[in-house]
Symmetry: C2
Subunit: 85 residues, 2 copies
């Protein structure tokens, strides 16, 4: 049963991380980010950075990996937001 | 040391959850969601739902609480996206 639970956790991590790819793609190609909240992405980025610290402390590879990639994607959204605001 | 680590986890959960409030507020008041990726929010919602299932299985109140509230906020963003697309 543990395996089945961890597969759910990994699927959850994959989806919440990968979900930022279409947002990056949309902002990048349309060069428009007016409707995106900068406050949301700044707060989310600090949260993801803390999740990464948490993952390192509890030695969870899933949390470390998912939040490293999410943090990178969120940073790109923030950069695009500042560029095309 | 466990306490300090859990405080980091709770702060991370609070920030990544609360971050959606300014996005809901922005979309709600400005009645504009054109630059928001629907694919991102749909994928994120399914991911959050799986995190919730994961949290219930591993009996983590933090994961259950954070993802319940995040799921609700993400649903509102999706509804506003469909309304003002």
């Amino acid at each position: 049963m543990v395996d089945k639970i961890e597969i759910i956790g990994l699927a959850a991590a994959f989806l919440t991380t990968a979900s930022f790819v279409p947002q990056v793609y949309k902002a990048w190609t349309q060069k428009a980010t007016k409707d995106i909240s900068l406050t949301m992405y700044l707060s989310f980025f600090v949260g993801v950075a803390l999740w990464l610290v948490y993952g390192i402390f509890i030695e969870s590879l899933s949390i470390i990996l998912a939040n490293s990639i999410t943090g990178l994607l969120v940073l790109i959204v923030i950069a695009l937001k500042l560029k095309y605001k």
